[in-house]
Symmetry: C2
Subunit: 191 residues, 2 copies
């Protein structure tokens, strides 16, 4: 997808409003007002709230999909692959937390082809992560515990990071990366 500057401004502001008020409660008029333009001008750039939702969610879902594909097809060690997945989620969370909130809360408001496309990307993303974990167990890099629980323990933390990462001031990307990698790879217990 190619996004113009004006569209980028629209989706940035819309994502904030969706997060604050919920997708269903926000109107095109609210978005125009927040941008300080007339609703008619907004329609010159974008045809509906639905189109905005698609731009926000599909853009970010495609980024997750593309980077995950690179990671899963790389020759890295599994531990490195997991670190790269953590890195990917931190990158997007720090850059675009509002859009992530929108993806998590409002994806079910997508329709038809876009909904199917999104669900397909999400399913493949999980399947790819599962593949990394099972490759790690096979190679002896990872402990042999219930793989679904491992997959969703890590993914739950990464997917909800946008909700809690800014509860602490001064929590930089590097500290997030190191701590999450330590927690999941080595555990919190001191041995």
């Amino acid at each position: 997808m190619k996004i113009t500057d004006r569209k980028l401004e629209i989706i940035t502001i819309a994502a904030q409003l969706f997060k604050e008020k919920g997708y269903s409660a926000v109107t095109m008029r609210d978005i125009a007002q927040a941008m300080n333009i007339k609703a008619a001008s907004l329609y010159n750039h974008i045809k509906s709230k639905q189109e905005i939702l698609v731009l926000i969610i599909i853009e970010i879902a495609e980024e997750f999909t593309n980077v995950m594909n690179e990671i899963v097809n790389s020759n890295d060690l599994v531990l490195t692959k997991i670190e790269r997945v953590i890195q990917l989620h931190i990158d997007i969370t720090l850059r675009n937390a509002d859009a992530l909130a929108c993806l998590n809360n409002d994806w079910m408001h997508l329709t038809d082809d876009e909904l199917q496309y999104f669900v397909k990307m999400r399913t493949e993303y999980e399947a790819n992560f599962r593949k990394i974990i099972s490759e790690g167990v096979l190679a002896g890099e990872l402990k042999n515990c219930n793989q679904e629980v491992v997959v969703f323990s890590i993914l739950s933390t990464l997917r909800t990071m946008y909700l809690w990462y800014n509860k602490t001031k001064d929590l930089d990307a590097q500290t997030l990366q190191n701590t999450i990698a330590t927690v999941f790879l080595k555990g919190v217990a001191n041995k």
Copy 2:
């Protein structure tokens, strides 16, 4: 709170409906219909959808609060305390996943005193878990990494378990307990 059998039936069915359609979209009529009774009979037992929401959420939040208080005030080792917190979330998730979905999705629809009471319980719950983690670091039982990241990595996984625990058939409470404890205490890497 003391809940009659009839009220329990109402909140069980309402929690399912809230999960399927979203709190705002469900009417008292829908709830009566799902119970195969007239709306008028429903009002004999409960005065509003808001009262149902309070019953569902406050009940479960109080259970989390009470057990967490027991754990934090016990003389257990910190590693045991963390295992008991994991156990608490598994217990409630397996017993009452619909109510947990309601708590997570709809708590913001609580009003006035109930909203304040809920937010207070949630804040204290996080503060108590934070206390366990910092006690563990002080005692040398836990690694000294960023405590907020540790707190929310573990809580995110436990709080979203209701979304993923039943993606795998045959995932029993004991396997969940062992795997989550292993992941967070010892890490997934094979040493």
